[in-house]
């Protein structure tokens, strides 16, 4: 049972335009959401996060939007740059016992920025 879903396995965007990556979740207990960027043969790099008490968080070119009623979040990158080409993972967690946070990941979306 996939609790976090990224339904688009790939996305191609023109350089300078906006990239929008989407993520849906099913577990209403999730209270913290993160986006990671991953290059081949490297570990994921943390990009941006959002707590369930917010609906938007912005950091430079990256903005994450959370719609709790729809159980949906999205990552906006604007303007998109060639260096943004990577696989993007959405992850969610629920604060559990002793602060344990087990991240649940989506399958990833491969973003390609075309010059």
């Amino acid at each position: 049972d996939q609790q976090v879903k990224q339904n688009s396995p790939s996305l191609s965007v023109q350089e300078g335009r906006i990239s929008i990556l989407n993520c849906d979740y099913t577990n209403s207990m999730f209270d913290y959401f993160l986006w990671y960027k991953k290059y081949p043969a490297e570990g994921p790099t943390f990009l941006i996060s959002i707590s369930s008490i917010k609906d938007k968080n912005e950091d430079g070119r990256f903005t994450v939007f959370l719609n709790k009623s729809a159980k949906h979040l999205s990552l906006h990158i604007v303007p998109s740059q060639p260096g943004d080409s990577a696989v993007y993972f959405c992850a969610a967690s629920a604060l559990g016992r002793w602060g344990a946070q087990k991240l649940v990941f989506g399958q990833g979306t491969r973003l390609t920025i075309n010059p």
């Binding site: 602060g99 344990a100 946070q101 087990k102 990941f105």
Partner: protein, 115 residues
């Protein structure tokens, strides 16, 4: 940004060999995690640790074992490697409070191939 290291980066080994994947972090983080990722798939949590001498199994069943004798060190061991263990293994750590969610930071990963 966390400093977290994994060795080796790549390992090709024959069936039946015992292997240990090393993971170290220099940030003094209490929480550490091991994830497994197959190509094009999501990351799955296989082990985590709250602190020294505490380890728990993750959501994905794994034949590997872990230990946490020192805060900074969280090695993963496979007693007898099999081709089904071929995957990328990613180590992560986080500060780990019991009040607010925190961010997990990942190492570069070990790409394991068992022949």
């Amino acid at each position: 940004e966390a400093d977290i290291y994994q060795t080796p980066r790549y390992l090709v080994i024959g069936t039946g060999k015992k292997i240990t994947l090393e993971c170290s972090q220099t940030m003094g983080h209490d929480k550490m995690y091991w994830y497994q990722q197959d190509p094009g798939m999501e990351l799955h949590l296989i082990h985590y640790s709250y602190g020294v001498n505490s380890t728990e199994k993750g959501d994905l069943s794994s034949e590997s074992t872990v230990s946490r004798i020192r805060t900074e060190h969280f090695p993963l061991t496979l007693e007898s490697a099999r081709p089904s263990h071929t995957s990328q293994y990613l180590c992560a750590s986080s500060v780990g409070t019991s009040i607010v969610p925190d961010t997990q930071y990942f190492g570069p990963g070990t790409r394991l191939t068992v022949l």
